[in-house]
């Protein structure tokens, strides 16, 4: 059964149709990349999946449940986590505090006015694991807003992971990064996908990253699906080449 199913999702802004009857289904453990030229509606599509706003029409199913009208926080509760094109973190807190908040919320403690020693120990342990996984341990006590861009992005991904998601949505994880940083992030995503069998959907501009990581690729153009398939199939698809790769090249 597919983990995520999108059926004919459409989103209009006034007269503009940003996403036009897009359907997609993602299998458990799959890494799906969504590509397309600027203005193709990729981020809008992501926003529909994660619940930033509801679709004008169409349905979204997550592990068999209709989540079309659910709030983002409910979707997070069901196991959906995302990052943003422009990193969304808590800049005036340290990396450790950032992760602590994520871990505590994930442990259902967001409204708890106290913390028992036992739970606290577990939370600390989990924070250290995540810091270590992202390679952030040496910088854990610095304000995350002062860290290099790549580390900020890593911290954001780690916060998403703290939620123990079943589906991770990454919006251009390598945007604005240098080669080394891009490489590190790519390795991290690969590791998550391979080691933890995490289902990931990502939007990406960097074709090296896409072809390196993706199991399948969905191509959007002008809000509609232009094609879908394995990296090889997409690379050979003439329409895709004409509309997108050709232009990019």
């Amino acid at each position: 059964m597919s983990l995520l199913v999108v059926e004919n999702a459409t989103r209009r802004f006034g007269s503009l149709v940003a996403v036009d009857a897009v359907s997609m289904s993602v299998a458990p453990g799959e890494l799906r990349a969504i590509i397309g030229p600027n203005g193709a509606g990729k981020t809008t599509f992501f926003n529909l999946i994660s619940g930033f706003f509801p679709p004008t029409s169409g349905r979204i199913l997550f592990s068999g449940t209709d989540v079309t009208r659910l709030s983002p926080e409910r979707r997070v509760g069901m196991g959906m986590a995302r990052t943003f094109q422009i990193t969304e973190i808590f800049p005036e807190l340290t990396a450790r505090e950032n992760l602590r908040i994520a871990v505590e919320v994930a442990s259902g403690l967001r409204r708890s006015p106290w913390l028992r020693g036992h739970a606290n120990a577990q939370i600390r342990e989990r924070i250290e694991v995540l810091l270590d996984m992202g390679g952030l341990t040496p910088k854990a006590d610095r304000l995350v807003g002062e860290l290099p861009h790549g580390d900020q992005r890593t911290a954001e991904i780690m916060m998403a992971l703290a939620l123990k998601p079943r589906l991770l949505l990454l919006d251009e994880p390598t945007a604005g990064m240098g080669d080394q940083e891009t490489h590190d992030i790519t390795q991290l995503i690969r590791k998550l996908h391979k080691d933890q069998q995490l289902t990931i959907v990502l939007i990406e501009h960097d074709m090296r990253v896409v072809f390196h990581l993706a199991d399948r690729i969905t191509v959007l153009a002008e809000g509609a699906v232009l094609g879908e398939g394995t990296p090889n199939e997409i690379a050979r698809d003439e329409r895709v080449q004409a509309a997108y790769l050709g232009k990019a090249a």
């Binding site: 983002p72 926080e73 969304e88 807190l93 908040i101 994520a102 919320v105 954001e156 939620l163």
Partner: protein
């Protein structure tokens, strides 16, 4: 590394608060002034729970402050002459109103939230001001007095003994402030911090932001109405001015002046504001210009507040 100075600061603040009635006179103050600093300080700290630690600007907190005051005054006058009961009813009134209003406005943000809180604050002002037969209108609620505190073993005279009343306020202050401090250090407090820092991130961590803003608003108003009850007891009187919007503005400037990002900042801000107002208004009838100018100067030159500046210089 910052931990030791923080503890030292906290200790110093408590020491000052504990001894205040004994040296107030020597520096040209009076006990009532100390009590006032404490009450308004509590109000500003309560406001800052929402403003500084949840990142939501309410410009209408005087409404809940005033509701607390009216609740306490009317309870003691009409229901039962008991100071603790007055406080309880006052806090309950303010908190209940905050629950209802909070539910209406938790979806709003930024300037819009501020504006709506002001406008809703005025609802209560007009009720107090216009509903003469119940609230006494512009004349306020008079003809009652705070009552002695009966502890079973001993009776504490809060009315005739200024110092006893000061320590009574200090006790209430200590309880409220400790509760706030514990809340802010809990996972719940960190969730609020997350909303302040980045609402979108908080939401996509699975935090129902509106519900938490509502909670924070209610908690903040609960404490501010406690301050309001103490204010009524301090004056043995309450009137609609206690819940008008200029009072709300004063709370905000106290918080900003002391430093919104620090726990104790608003208390310091309240102390500076109260003493300054007390001093200036005795020396010139144009004190409003000075207070206004003071607002302008704080905004232009000390937006981070006193503690913000000290912290920058690494002193706190």
């Amino acid at each position: 590394m910052k931990r030791v100075p923080a503890v030292a600061w906290t200790g110093l603040i408590w020491l000052v608060l504990l001894t205040m009635p004994y040296w107030m006179r020597a520096v040209g103050g009076y006990t009532e002034l100390a009590s006032r600093v404490l009450v308004l300080g509590l109000a500003a700290m309560s406001l800052n729970f929402l403003l500084g630690f949840t990142g939501v600007l309410s410009f209408g907190h005087a409404a809940y402050f005033g509701l607390g005051a009216y609740g306490a005054a009317m309870t003691i006058k009409y229901i039962a002459p008991s100071t603790p009961l007055g406080i309880l009813v006052g806090v309950a009134t303010g908190t209940l109103a905050a629950m209802v209003i909070g539910a209406l406005i938790a979806r709003l943000r930024g300037v819009y939230f501020a504006m709506v809180t002001i406008a809703f604050g005025q609802v209560f002002y007009f009720i107090a001001f216009r509903w003469n037969s119940v609230t006494g209108g512009d004349d306020g609620v008079t003809g009652w007095k705070r009552q002695a505190l009966d502890l079973g073993l001993a009776k504490i005279d809060l009315l005739g003994n200024d110092k006893a009343f000061y320590y009574f306020i200090l006790a209430c202050f200590a309880i409220a402030v400790t509760l706030m401090w514990l809340l802010l250090r809990s996972p719940f407090g960190r969730t609020l911090l997350a909303i302040r820092e980045n609402e979108r991130r908080a939401r996509f961590l699975g935090v129902p932001v509106e519900r938490h803003i509502w909670l924070s608003f209610v908690i903040s108003c609960c404490f501010v109405s406690l301050a309001g009850t103490l204010y009524a007891l301090l004056n043995n009187f309450t009137d609609p001015r206690a819940l008008r919007w200029d009072q709300s503005g004063n709370f905000v400037i106290m918080a900003v002046l002391g430093g919104m990002r620090s726990f104790w900042g608003p208390l310091i801000g309240a102390a500076i504001f109260v003493v300054l107002q007390d001093y200036v208004s005795s020396h010139t009838e144009n004190w409003m210009s000075f207070i206004g100018l003071f607002f302008v100067l704080v905004v232009l030159f000390f937006p981070r507040g006193v503690l913000g500046i000290l912290r920058r210089k690494g002193m706190a």
